[in-house]
Subunit: 330 residues, 2 copies
DNA sequence: ATCATTTTCGCAAACGTTTGCGGCATCCGT
DNA sequence: ACGGATGCCGCAAACGTTTGCGAAAATGAT
């Protein structure tokens, strides 16, 4: 490794002290304009770049942010990451990206990596088994803010940003009700997720209250593959006239079976989904959906972090509203 | 920020020196088993975790790896990232993820972030305008290996890993030829990419050589939207009996137009693509494709990096073979 | 008991930066 | 000319770690 230019190398070339160089480069008022100019010019010439490790060590701060998600193969998380990376870069932060694989042990390992690298803040979508969030609260007590997103814990005393899960499910339910469909196959994700619970409760609750005659068949699946088999089974057995999918992965599976069985959409069966926005448009007709944008959530999460840095440290739960996107599937 | 436990805090509690604690924790033979035990037990009790910044500063090494991609909204890159993150974690490295937005300036900014954070190695898919790779070569000269992947420069004196672009295009061409189709709409990406050039040359070259009677209409598009409009135009104008798409984004656009025009696949028109593997299966019939797996490439790239760390520093170009996946679209 | 060897540990410097403090010049007002 | 204020800069410590070297203590050989 060839040595890069440091404050010291600049200082010795100019026969001034390291501290003067340091202050000159940050426009400290103690330094005369003449030396400032000298230093800054030489620094530019020598391509001086500060050593982040030295700064972190000395100041006990860093420009690193941590992100932990269950899996990046999930569209929602990659679009969250896309937005988060962009915002981070614009504000001078650098992102450390980690996957937990929905495994609590790996999640803790990743958390440790975050601590070791002394990140300035953490964004995390917790894995389903994670009940105990003490280690995260401890981070926050140590001055490292933790923003939970999407898959958030139930606890009150923490910062969360999430989609309007209840609202999204209700919007979908309303659309189905208006279409006069009477027998709905409702496909949800892993029952352990609070996000699933919220959506299920809102969706089924809506019909109980506003259209009790409507039959809602709730099915919980935890993979695209399972969505395929369950949809096929239910379509044959109950012949529903509407299908609701709470995520892109589930939608992909459900549509596979619907096409295989050659069931006409929307004539024979209406389809509506909650989605991140890309997948529904691949089908013909395009699937009507309620959008939960990972990018929007990413921006919001980053803003929350910045506000935390600026002193707003009391716990909040922020919610991104949903957006109805009309396709031709209902 | 509450202070974490350090070598010093451990040493003062045990009334021994910092250096002894340091050595005890790494099983240095100079330290007696008795003190080793004492130190390690206390360290475990106090949840000691080394400070990565201090280590990096002192040893001039780091466990950070950099990744720069044009955009994470591209499926291929997210699957590359998925694999790379996994491998990195397993080997004790932490990943810094950056997007360039296909912009040379941002790319250089990101490179600077990598230097400032003193990464141990860099993976990069360069943006199309990047002609001059001096800044990357300089990194390598400074001891930081650079692995170019997917979008690789033409230069010889650098390390590259990429998909078998020529082979993939030829595999697709062979399948089309066997299907006896005679007029092919071939959709390629941005003409600036070396990857596009390679695929175009191989694909058209194959027909010139093996089936000169076949008409190949090559069209270059640089977005899904453009793929939609161009496909519609070409389908109407030339009525091809086969469509070749060199990427997932293009496939999504092409299929949109084909469905809109209600053209039967595969009867009226055959479709074949080069793809990362998820999108083709969403259609009905499933699209036949040649797989270029981002995850495979990610694993290979990481391996190359490790080998570099172990002394294999001479430039290499590694290539992942393609895989033919049969659908029902041809 | 003596000396040589080995075991076990501590000292101190170094990595690159920031920052409180103190010191020397220079300047101003009287 | 004198005192005080001000401008400009350097010293040195500190962040947490690693590591060459030397020194003390323990062990072994004779």
């Amino acid at each position: 490794m060839s040595q890069s230019t440091t404050l010291k190398s600049i200082s010795s070339l100019l026969n001034i002290s390291v501290s003067t160089v340091s202050r000159a480069l940050k426009n400290h008022p103690d330094i005369s304009d003449k030396t400032k100019k000298k230093v800054q010019e030489l620094a530019a010439m020598m391509d001086y770049e500060p050593n982040a490790h030295a700064i972190s060590l000395r100041t006990n701060t860093s420009k690193l942010l941590g992100l932990i998600v269950p899996a990046l193969s999930n569209f929602f998380y990659t679009s969250f990451l896309t937005a988060l990376e962009e915002e981070s870069r614009k504000h001078g932060y650098t992102l450390i990206t980690l996957q937990s694989g929905d495994n609590t042990n790996i999640e803790q390992e990743n958390l440790k990596l975050c601590r070791i690298n002394h990140i300035a803040g953490l964004f995390i979508a917790i894995s389903p088994e994670t009940k105990n969030i003490d280690s995260f609260l401890r981070m926050e007590k140590n001055g490292v803010p933790v923003i939970f997103f999407d898959k958030v814990p139930d606890a009150e005393n923490c910062n969360k940003v999430r989609m309007a899960d209840e609202e999204a499910a209700i919007m979908a339910a309303e659309v189905i009700q208006k279409s006069k469909r009477k027998k709905i196959l409702a496909l949800f994700g892993n029952q352990e997720f609070s996000i699933t619970k919220k959506r299920w409760k809102s969706f089924t609750g809506y019909f109980e209250k506003n259209a009790p005659a409507t039959e809602v068949i709730s099915v919980f699946v935890s993979s695209t593959q399972e969505a395929i088999t369950e949809t096929e089974k239910e379509m044959k057995q109950h012949e529903p006239d509407a299908v609701f999918c709470m995520s892109d992965e589930i939608l992909a599976g459900a549509m596979k079976s619907i096409k295989k069985l050659k069931i006409n959409v929307p004539k024979k069966v209406a389809v509506i989904a909650i989605s991140n926005g890309f997948i529904p448009q691949l089908f013909d007709p395009e699937i009507t959906y309620v959008e939960t944008s990972g990018m929007e959530l990413g921006k919001l999460a980053f803003n929350r972090m910045i506000n935390y840095f600026n002193g707003q440290t009391t716990s909040q739960e922020l919610i991104v509203p949903s957006k109805y996107v009309k396709g031709g599937s209902i």
